[in-house]
Structures are given as C-alpha cells and as structure tokens.
C-alpha cells in the first residue's frame, strides 16, 4: 500500500503541496489528472523517493521514503516511467537499455535475457533491438522507456503520461498491455495522463488542482459532470463533448457517451422515433 500522510512539498520557496493525505491500496488503478503544473509529476516523484516531502511522510508498504536505508527496496517495488523518455534512456543500444533496470536488481543473466525478450516482444520493439537509442522516433522512445520499467516487474507501476507521443492504435496497445499485467500479476497502477480515453481503465480518478485533491471518484462519476472535468483542466473525450453539446440542444441522449458507435446508434434511434 502507498500512503501519504500530511505531505507538504516545495521547490525552494514555491509550495506545491500543503499537507495532502492519500492512500492507494493494492490492486487499485489510479488515474492522476489535472492541469499543466498541478503537481502530477511532483507527486509521482514523491512516490519513489526521487523527491522527499518537506513535511509529512510517504510510506511504501510501510517504508518511509525519507529513510536512506529504504531507497533500494522502494525503487525495486515502485517502477516509474517518467514524462520525458530522454531522461530515462541510459544505454546507447535498445536492448542494453531494457536490460539496465533488471541488471541493477541483481538478477541472474538468464532471467534478464528472458525478461528483455519478453518486453521486446509485447511492445513490438523486436525490429529495433540492436538500434542505437538516438535513432528512435519520439513514440518509439516512449515505448522503450515503458519497456525498461516493465522488465523490472515492479509491484507498483507508476507512469507519467507514458503515451503522450503515441498514435491512437499504439496507445491502445500499451493500455491493453498494462491492463493485462494489472489483471494477471495483480500489480497496482498509478497513471497520469491528459488523454481522457485513458482514464477509463482506472478504478479511481484523482484530480489535482492548486495543490489539493480536487476530485476523488470513479471515471464514470468524473465524466458525468463536464463542467468539473474542465475545471480540473482535463479534456472530455471528443465524442462525449459532442454528446454534451447535442444534449444541450435538446436531443434526448444518455450521458455520458464515449464511443462513436454508441453515439451513432443513439442518434439513429432518436431519428427513427421522429
């Protein structure tokens, strides 16, 4: 379990959090959302001890991130995919970069090989295994950053806008891979995103605003109130946005609707009744 107790954090004199409390239980999938600068990445860095609170405590399975002796074990349990993949890619060849994390865990060479092969395969990076990392496109770099963390098999998988540069089919692929791990390995997921489509995988949405937990509830609850979604600096899925506009024009649609197919069916049903 992840626990934040009265956590405050400042960069110099710039205060980001002033006494927040949060619990993320095992088996949860939390979508972390909020406007640019609302503190998502800061919160994420507090979870693996890269940043430590100025006041209060962050506990990972009871281990305080401020205690130096816990650093190694916390990094092993909490795997973080950072927002900019360039800050994460360390090796000059793709497969070496994926092996870097597992090597640091001190795993046996055969185990490392096996894990590297596995993630190369699921992320469809096999054609790039011997490519220099500088030669990857923006989206390929994001996939590599994800691969490196997956190969470490963390108990808590924390991702900071991991698919922001990926095309929709590749993004959905990544979402499904994580969902599969979530179901099969019973990992806990914390996933920050500006893409509303990705929020649906979550069991819970936490929206940050001005250093506070502005919203805490299910994705369905979150999207059922568009004004609040916007207030959090979050987009509505475009289909939901259109559905909202049509409803305001007096069309008797259910709300919220997310998929083009569902909206098309409902509109057709309405038209047939006219």
């Amino acid at each position: 379990m992840i626990k934040l107790i009265d956590v405050s954090f400042s960069y110099g004199d710039r205060e980001i959090f002033d006494g927040i409390n949060m619990e993320i239980g095992d088996g949860e999938w939390v979508a972390l959302v909020g406007a640019n600068g609302s503190g998502k990445s800061t919160l994420i860095k507090l979870l693996n001890g890269l940043l430590v609170p100025t006041k209060g405590r962050v506990l990972i399975d009871g281990m305080d991130t401020r205690d130096e002796g816990n650093v190694w074990e916390i990094r092993r349990r909490v795997g973080v995919v950072f927002q900019n993949p360039d800050t994460q890619i360390v090796a000059s060849i793709v497969e070496d970069d994926i092996a870097f994390g597992p090597e640091n865990l001190g795993l046996a060479p055969e185990e490392i090989r096996e894990r590297v092969e596995q993630v190369l395969k699921v992320l469809r990076l096999e054609p790039f295994r011997s490519s220099p990392t500088y030669a990857l496109s923006g989206g390929q770099k994001q996939k590599l950053a994800i691969a490196g963390v997956l190969a470490m098999k963390p108990r808590y998988l924390v991702l900071d806008e991991p698919t922001s540069m990926l095309d929709p089919p590749s993004r959905r692929d990544i979402n499904k891979i994580i969902k599969f791990l979530y179901d099969k390995e019973k990992i806990t997921v914390v996933y920050s995103t500006h893409n509303p489509e990705e929020i649906f995988y979550a069991t819970r949405v936490i929206a940050l605003s001005k250093g506070t937990l502005f919203f805490n509830g299910t994705p369905w609850e979150f999207f059922s109130n568009p004004e609040r979604v916007w207030k959090c600096g979050v987009k509505l899925p475009i289909i939901t946005h259109l559905c909202y506009k049509l409803k305001k024009r007096g069309l008797d649609l259910s709300f919220p609707i997310f998929s083009p197919k569902e909206l098309a069916e409902e509109l057709w049903r309405l038209k047939s009744k006219m």
């Binding site: 640019n36 600096g233 259109l242």
Partner: protein, 275 residues
C-alpha cells in the same frame, strides 16, 4: 508562393549498418494560407518530413522548395528558417536560457526588432498558449512538462513565421492550453500556412484543409479533408471521422463544408430533428 515537396526520399545513416529509409518518394504542395494535418503510426516519418521543411535535414533524393528556395542550397538556409518556424516534438530538450522571458525572446533575436516590439510579442505569445506573466522570470528548466511545451511554442510564435510547423503540439497539453492554442490558430487562418503533426486531429478538424497519412515512410493518403475523412485507417485516429462514417452508413445526409465541431453539431441536429 508555397511549399513544394517533389519526389523526396530520405535515408538516415547511409552506408552504415543502421541505414534506414525514413521517407520514400513523397510529393505534395501546399499553397500559402492552406493548412495541413499529418498523421501516421509511430516511426512513419512524420518528424523526418518536418525537419526537411526547414532545411534541418536535406533530402537524399528529390527537392524541397520553400517559396521557390531550394533547401539543398546552403545560402538559402537562414532565409528558409525565417520563413518556416518549427516547434519540435521534444522542444524542451533545446532550452538554454536562464529565464523563460529570455528563452522566448531568443526566438525573435535575428529579426532586428526593437526591444519594445520583442517585449510586446513575448507577452502576446505566452497569453496565446495560456501561460501567466508570472512565469516569465522563472527558469525554463524548472517547469512542468506541459509548461515547457507551451514556452517552446511561444518561442516560435514570437517570430511570426509565414509557415508554422508543429510536431505534436497538443501532447501533454491540458484543456485550457489546447483551447487557447486552437483558438489562436483559428484566428491566423489565411495569414499563415499551418502544418501540424498530431495524433489528435479532432481539435483541428475544422482548421485543416488537407490531411496526409504516412505509413512506414510512404504517403498512404493525401487530399482535402472531405475525401480523406472516409479513409479507413483515419477512423482509428479521429473519432469524429468514425462517427461521420457510421452516421452516413445509416443514411444520414450531411452537408458538411467544414468539419468544425459546431458545424457538425448543427448538421446532426438538423438531420435528427428536422428531416
């Protein structure tokens, strides 16, 4: 005047084991005032194409002409970079100034503008991307990911280039930032040409005149939005395109001359309630 790309192919690392054909025989042209969206899977060559437009990369084969200036000729380089402003995919990797103000003002450096004019443009540019004035004194390195992206966009906007090129401008951008930028880009209509690489074209569907779909270095589709909107692959990228296709299949008769969300809304209301 226009952008002309003629039979362009591009190879990375020619003659090495890492030789990679990134673009193959691409041709298109864009008139001044026309806007274009570029889509395609990861690794399809979008960023490569964009870097060919401001002479950062030179075609392996074929020609790129900007207002008639060939990017192949070295002496055209600075003029071309004045005409074509590019916001790269990870622009924050190129920051180097001490404050956000200087970082943005640097963009206008070679334009021989007065100090007052630079100041006016810097403030205008941050407003356009929805950043507060208070951010100007901060270090560009001590910003959130989305704030950095907005600063990078502002640093190109201050130059007021004739051809504005964006590589994934909305990646990592929040709702207010996206709204502000889209609104601004709409206000530019006709006065510049926009080329936008984006995986979320829905926001710009009403703004682009043409769409290009790249796949594995090849141009799979290119043309006016009303034609490309029915291109099968596009439906996986643009939910509105999927919706339009589904409704048309059911027999709804759309009279869309723009793909503005508001216009689509009108057409649906007209179709469902009044026909």
């Amino acid at each position: 005047m226009a952008i002309e790309v003629k039979n362009v192919s591009f190879f990375y690392s020619i003659g090495t084991p890492f030789e990679k054909k990134a673009l193959e025989n691409i041709s298109f042209s864009l008139e001044m005032g026309e806007n274009m969206g570029i889509l395609g899977p990861t690794g399809s060559g979008k960023s490569t194409l964009i870097q060919l437009l401001n002479a950062l990369l030179i075609p392996t084969k074929g020609e790129v002409l900007i207002d008639g200036l060939n990017t192949r000729e070295r002496k055209n380089g600075s003029k071309i970079r004045e005409l074509v402003g590019v916001v790269f995919q990870y622009p924050e990797n190129q920051f180097f100034e001490d404050t956000v103000y200087e970082e943005i003002a640097f963009g206008a450096k070679n334009l021989r503008l007065s100090k007052e004019e630079v100041d006016r443009r810097v403030r205008e540019a941050i407003a356009v991307v929805g950043l507060p004035e208070a951010i100007l004194d901060k270090s560009p390195f001590e910003l959130s990911g989305g704030e950095k992206r907005k600063v990078a966009i502002a640093s190109i906007l201050v130059r007021k280039p004739k051809y504005l090129v964006f590589d994934e401008p909305f990646a990592g951008m929040d709702y207010p930032g996206t709204e502000a930028l889209v609104k601004f880009l709409k206000s530019l209509r006709g006065t510049v040409s926009l080329i936008v690489v984006t995986h979320t074209l829905d926001e710009l569907l009403g703004l682009v005149d043409k769409i290009m779909f790249l796949d594995n270095g090849k141009m799979k589709a290119f043309g006016p939005v009303k034609d490309i909107i029915h291109f099968e692959e596009l439906r996986k990228y643009v939910p509105l395109a999927e919706l339009i296709s589904l409704l048309e299949q059911k027999g709804l008769n759309f009279q869309l001359n723009t793909f503005e969300l508001d216009h689509l809304e009108e057409e649906i209301v007209r179709n469902v309630l009044f026909s």
